[in-house]
């Protein structure tokens, strides 16, 4: 591995299906709200189907957000590739791969970075930030996934809501 390379692997399990995690990845609009602490802002520059090009301001340290141009490419049925470029840090490819498990699904996220030379001394800090960033994003996504799963189980329809309660005696 070269001096400029950095690879971080993260693993998570969720009590939902692979398809539900994929749906969440393809929901490009929740970033600035659900992940507002990690993503200071995001702007969709181009969108075609589930693929999109975004400018994302990721919070690197408190009070310091860095812009990344990000290409988001779902690879159905179980992979998502995210390729980002930052003028300060270099390139970052994130491959999310999902596999079904007995309890739901397993998510393996591999962050592969090619750092700019100026960012090499920050390698260990960047690794720690990626781990923390991934954990935080995952906890936020997991809460959405679990609740959404529950909503759908109860008959929720997007844009309509839940069916009303069953009638009973007055």
């Amino acid at each position: 591995m070269s001096l400029r390379s950095l690879v971080v692997d993260m693993h998570h399990d969720a009590p939902v299906t692979v398809a539900e995690i994929m749906d969440n990845f393809m929901d490009h609009d929740h970033g600035p709200y659900l992940h507002k602490e990690s993503m200071a802002s995001s702007e969709i520059l181009y969108r075609s189907g589930d693929t999109c090009l975004q400018k994302i301001w990721r919070t690197f340290l408190p009070g310091l957000s860095l812009g990344w141009i990000t290409w988001f490419q779902p690879i159905p049925p179980d992979k998502v590739l995210i390729y980002s470029v930052s003028t300060l840090f270099g390139e970052m490819e994130i491959l999310h791969q999902m596999t079904p498990t007995k309890e739901g699904a397993h998510l393996h996220s591999r962050y592969s970075l090619t750092l700019n030379l100026l960012a090499v001394p920050l390698k260990s800090l960047i690794r720690r930030r990626i781990v923390r960033w991934n954990e935080k994003l995952w906890q936020e996504d997991l809460s959405l996934l679990v609740r959404r799963n529950e909503m759908l189980r109860r008959g929720f329809k997007d844009g309509v809501g839940l069916p009303l309660a069953r009638p009973g005696p007055t």
Partner: protein
């Protein structure tokens, strides 16, 4: 009141006072209760967009913004303030001896 509807116990007024905002499932609805200007407000806690929890959203007094995708609602009426022309389902309530009861309509 709609025919076939019924009053269901939601909880105690004191619980709402202690919690600030209290969300709880009643039958198939997640109901949110809170005080606004000393008046008890009872509304749906489920964003119509994708089902986000409104009690965890951003509250600015007269509106609430869903924490998932930013759909905004007028608290007093439940009306969605975005492009979508919709409103949260109305949930009638009454308080008897410090106990809040809510009334949910029948399945249409």
């Amino acid at each position: 009141m709609t025919e076939g509807s019924r009053w269901i116990r939601f909880g105690e007024l004191d619980e709402v006072r202690r919690a600030g905002r209290l969300a709880r499932w009643v039958d198939n609805q997640e109901v949110l209760a809170f005080f606004q200007h000393d008046k008890l407000v009872v509304m749906s806690n489920v964003c119509l967009h994708k089902g986000g929890p409104l009690n965890e959203g951003q509250w600015d007094g007269s509106t609430v913004t869903c924490p998932w995708h930013g759909w905004r609602y007028e608290v007093a009426t439940g009306k969605c303030l975005g492009k979508a022309r919709c409103s949260l389902p109305a949930i009638a309530h009454k308080v008897e001896e410090g106990i809040i009861h809510v009334c949910l309509g029948p399945v249409q």
